[in-house]
């Protein structure tokens, strides 16, 4: 019996102690007609060997060459040590560290995480993780609303330069509490938040402004200006950032005169594999003064009976298991294991390695940008500083281009057709340190080929059509 250690003898002895003769008798408090009568329709049990072969075949189907898709999930090199260590049973199969004395490993690691993440954001405090970047943004908004409870208004400004899926998640989560979301358009020339439109919209009041850095297009926002402006308007500033980029770019705590109030985002770039979208983890940092409104677990340093330092979960009065309906969030299970991986990742890269990874990604994106700019049929719509993503436009349908490039074992990017139809046939391409300059030449060359071929086909079609 897979995973069940009971021998016939064990079962007999155990039932004897209980005073029953069958396991079935132990279910006698359950109304008979509630019980399942006919066998479930499930596939037969597999051995690990059978499962391995089956899953290998499945996994094989999803290997599709070099990946230039970014759009919120980024491929970086993950040192082997990261998951070799994080997969140790002691990390992976531990529960939430409620019994602090039996969980000093996890607790110390989380304390180290809080330190790393707040320092990366240049803010005072960090929680111990939320589900993912999108839900972290939703929690940050709920937090900002709680912080601004006095003024009744819940009007959150969320620019269109924020990841469209993040905006979807924010909508799904905050609409339950009747929070108003105001979408701010972007400047079509720069791909940045349109400050003019922002000012117009803000006239009716603003609880908080969300500022992405880099934004969904890979473009850098004018964070100092926006932060100061929002603070002047008495709004909170919520930064939603790529944490790896913060090794290179000005971090939220240093934006403008006062710094952002809350920073959140997706932790995935820091050592978590793409893996179909999860498990990743959301991070959330804030100024010290807002700590009691922070959702999620927090670890604090303390001492033991004999005066030795140690760590515990703290500020639990914010949490659902104590405060129940009045908790700062309903979150319980979080994404601890990914934080484990991330802490090991950040330790291995250190401040310089992380900066190098960010810088290399940026630099390679610059290289690609230059070479794509020379290709006929490719346009680059936004002229503004960028990090490691890039919007390009074609005359041909993006989906055709993408499908054609798959034959070259290239996943060229994210199709913007559905989420930003106003951009026409547009593609979002991401380059990280995992792509070498040679790879980029192959990409440019393949794209050239594909565009030529497609134009030929289209014009042939036109031609035959016109006959």
């Amino acid at each position: 019996m897979p995973f069940i250690p009971h021998t016939e003898q064990d079962i007999k002895e155990m039932l004897a102690v209980i005073g029953e003769t069958s396991i079935e008798a132990l279910f006698d408090e359950i109304d008979d007609h509630l019980k399942i009568k006919k066998p479930l329709s499930l596939p037969p049990q597999l051995t690990e060997m059978e499962l391995s072969r089956f899953m290998q075949e499945r996994a094989q189907k999803d290997l599709a060459g070099l990946c230039y898709i970014g759009a919120g999930a980024y491929e970086h090199h993950i040192p082997a040590a990261v998951f070799d260590i994080a997969s140790r049973g002691e990390w992976m199969t531990a529960y939430t560290p409620y019994q602090a004395e039996a969980s000093q490993g996890t607790l110390q690691l989380l304390f180290e995480y809080q330190t790393m993440m707040s320092s990366l954001m240049s803010l005072d405090s960090s929680n111990a993780s939320l589900y993912d970047g999108a839900s972290a943004l939703a929690e940050a908004i709920l937090m900002a609303v709680r912080l601004s409870k006095q003024n009744q208004l819940s009007r959150i400004f969320i620019p269109r330069t924020v990841h469209p899926h993040y905006r979807d998640v924010v909508r799904a989560i905050t609409q339950q509490q009747g929070i108003e979301l105001v979408e701010v358009p972007y400047d079509v020339k720069t791909g940045q938040i349109s400050v003019t439109e922002l000012k117009t919209l803000a006239k009716e009041g603003m609880t908080a402004l969300v500022i992405p850095q880099p934004n969904f297009f890979g473009i850098l926002e004018e964070v100092d200006l926006l932060t100061d402006w929002a603070h002047a308007a008495k709004a909170k500033v919520i930064a939603v950032v790529n944490p790896m980029a913060m090794a290179l770019l000005k971090p939220p705590g240093q934006w403008g005169t006062m710094g952002a109030d809350i920073a959140c985002g997706e932790g995935q770039p820091l050592g978590v594999p793409l893996a179909s979208g999860g498990p990743y983890y959301g991070f959330l940092c804030c100024k010290q003064e807002w700590i009691r409104q922070l959702p999620g677990r927090v670890v604090g340093r303390t001492i033991d009976l004999s005066g030795k330092p140690g760590f515990v979960l703290t500020l639990q009065a914010r949490e659902q298991h104590i405060r129940r309906a009045k908790a700062t969030s309903n979150i319980c299970t979080n994404q601890g294991w990914l934080v484990t991986a991330s802490v090991i990742y950040m330790s291995l890269l250190g401040p310089n390695g992380l900066r190098q990874a960010a810088l290399t990604s940026h630099h390679h994106t610059s290289l690609l940008r230059e070479s794509l700019a020379t290709i006929k049929g490719v346009r680059i719509p936004f002229q503004a500083p960028f990090f490691h993503e890039l919007v390009v436009q074609f005359d041909l349908p993006v989906d055709v281009v993408l499908t054609e490039l798959m034959r070259y074992h290239i996943q060229a990017g994210f199709n913007l057709r559905k989420t930003y139809p106003e951009l026409g046939e547009a593609l979002l391409i991401c380059v990280t340190e995992t792509k070498s300059p040679d790879d980029l030449q192959v990409l440019a060359k393949s794209l050239c080929d594909v565009l030529k071929k497609c134009v030929a086909v289209v014009s042939a079609a036109d031609h035959s059509g016109s006959q």
């Binding site: 995973f3 250690p5 009971h6 155990m14 408090e29 359950i30 509630l34 019980k35 479930l40 499930l42 596939p43 049990q45 597999l46 499962l51 290997l63 040192p79 040590a81 992976m92 199969t93 939430t96 560290p97 004395e101 180290e112 330190t115 790393m116 320092s119 405090s125 589900y131 998640v169 850098l220 964070v223 913060m246 090794a247 290179l248 971090p251 240093q254 893996a275 979208g277 999860g278 498990p279 140690g310 949490e319 405060r323 969030s329 309903n330 979150i331 979080n334 994404q335 601890g336 090991i344 291995l348 890269l349 250190g350 401040p351 390695g353 992380l354 940026h362 630099h363 798959m406 996943q411």
Partner: protein, 490 residues
């Protein structure tokens, strides 16, 4: 406490094999957008990192090292094969936004998991996207809200929650904008039917229940409850955290539930990772299908496709940027395939056998049960209220002392209803000898309480730290390491 990684840092040190060697690039970014200071990340060698985090790991209890009878948490064996296969390159490298034609492997698994979960719950449709139990609850309650709204039934602003419920239940209801009304429990651990009758009305949006409840007993009036709530126009939410107790034996749909979540990190054996990740798929009956969160996977002919907002205009929407905790879904799927038809109901059977055996032995050893007239389900509660009086020890002391016996403590912060409670869940993957050893330890500890109470009061004694001061932690918040920079350069 081990030295913090920051205390091992030296300026200029690095795990150099991990740094892209491109130091000379200068970014094409205006300087006012660049970072000027250096974040406080450690500068250490690869060996230091490996040694530090290997060492820290050894300071944890875990299933792989200890018996972990933590009630409500279902700490069962997490198969290594499943972990390994979830890390196949094809799965790890798949971008969540890859085209469907490059995703059929993952999507097939997700689709089949949806089907599997329908089968074991009796529900009509499943969405896999919630990332843990609490997010599953959120999805469920949001669907209840959307359902009433779709019927223009706008006055229902109250969610019923038994007082025994897990904290996420009321927290979720509140997060969804509901007022929470608690319903009391009777002396047998069932919902007090009269209290329920008194509570329902036109303002009732629904009730959140787990069955077996967090008191370790099966809710015997479940059908009456269902009738009462349904008649009042409310819906029934099933908190599936305790599904392990009935897997393959009872269908939540059959008990009258309209919507539920599952905890894959409990019932489906995905590892808990020192806090997470989990997986909290939601399952619904027919009337709630339109409201399920996206994305879901559907099958047309031989290929799998995503159902998105366009396909599901009434969906409550997206709860994660991509597809929830995809890797956890894969793991749960594989676990289910390893169990198969033959193994599914054994989960509940042997979880129940283990719990009832442990209950019987502890009872024989003189321990007091919270619900002495009831069967254990997959878990049960011992109350130390007598010992608290006669021996002036607390459940907490016993819990801490158990750690010295190399066993994780049962749950004691919860449920709040029972004084000095130990909620004990052995799970089906533990063998009889381990259960016997647990009983021996409990007996021994009570013996110690008689003769050397400080052994308990000051416990643990044999762990990396002694008992920790939680009050100090909360009073004098110390949440991040502040570098004394002079220390950094030795």
């Amino acid at each position: 406490m081990s030295k913090l990684i920051f205390e091992q840092s030296r300026q200029g040190r690095s795990a150099a094999a991990q740094c892209p060697h491109t130091a000379s690039y200068s970014p094409s970014i205006p300087s006012h957008l660049l970072r000027q200071d250096t974040p406080l990340l450690p500068e250490v060698s690869e060996l230091q990192v490996v040694r530090h985090y290997t060492h820290l790991s050894q300071q944890n209890f875990s299933i792989d090292t200890h018996f972990y009878p933590l009630g409500s948490c279902t700490m069962k064996y997490n198969p290594r094969g499943v972990h390994r296969l979830a890390a196949l390159e094809g799965f790890l490298k798949r971008h969540p936004l890859s085209l469907d034609e490059a995703s059929q492997g993952f999507m097939a698994c997700a689709y089949e998991l949806q089907e599997l979960l329908k089968e074991v719950t009796g529900m009509k449709a499943v969405s896999l996207t919630p990332m843990a139990g609490a997010q599953g609850e959120f999805a469920g309650v949001a669907m209840i809200r959307a359902y009433h709204a779709s019927r223009q039934d706008m006055l229902r602003d109250e969610m019923l929650v038994p007082d025994a419920a897990h904290g996420t239940n009321p927290a979720t209801a509140a997060q969804c904008g509901y007022r929470v009304r608690e319903v009391s429990t009777d002396s047998n651990g069932n919902v007090a039917i009269e209290a329920l009758r008194a509570a329902v009305g036109p303002h009732t949006a629904g009730i959140m229940l787990t069955n077996p409840s967090t008191l370790g007993v099966f809710e015997q009036h479940i059908q009456e409850i269902a009738d009462i709530v349904h008649e009042a126009g409310g819906l029934l939410y099933y908190d599936g955290a305790n599904l392990n107790a009935i897997l393959g034996k009872v269908l939540p749909s059959q008990m009258g539930f309209d919507v539920m979540h599952m905890n894959l990190h409990k019932t489906f054996a995905t590892p808990h990772g020192g806090g997470g990740p989990g997986g909290g798929p939601v399952a619904v009956n027919d009337r709630l299908i339109p409201f399920l969160p996206i994305p879901r996977v559907t099958k047309r002919g031989d290929t799998y496709h995503w159902l998105t907002a366009e396909d599901c205009p009434h969906s409550i929407g997206r709860l994660s940027a991509f597809m929830g905790n995809a890797g956890i879904l894969l793991r749960a799927y594989m676990y289910a395939r390893l169990l198969g038809k033959e193994g599914m109901q054994r989960v509940a059977e042997f979880a129940t056998l283990n719990a009832n055996y442990l209950l019987a032995r502890l009872k024989q050893a003189g321990f007091t049960l919270a619900y002495p007239n009831r069967r254990a389900t997959h878990e049960f509660i011992v109350t130390l209220k007598n010992e608290a009086k006669t021996l002036t020890i607390h459940a907490l002391d016993v819990a801490k002392r158990l750690l010295d016996y190399h066993m994780h403590a049962p749950t004691m912060y919860f449920p709040l209803l029972v004084p000095e409670c130990l909620l004990i869940e052995p799970t089906e993957t533990e063998c009889k000898e381990t259960l016997d050893a647990f009983v021996d330890a409990m007996v021994q500890i009570i013996e110690e309480a008689r003769h050397h109470p400080t052994l308990l009061k000051d416990a643990p004694h044999h762990l990396p730290v002694r008992r920790l001061d939680e009050v100090k932690a909360a009073r004098e918040l110390n949440l991040v390491y502040r570098a004394k920079f002079n220390d950094d350069v030795s």
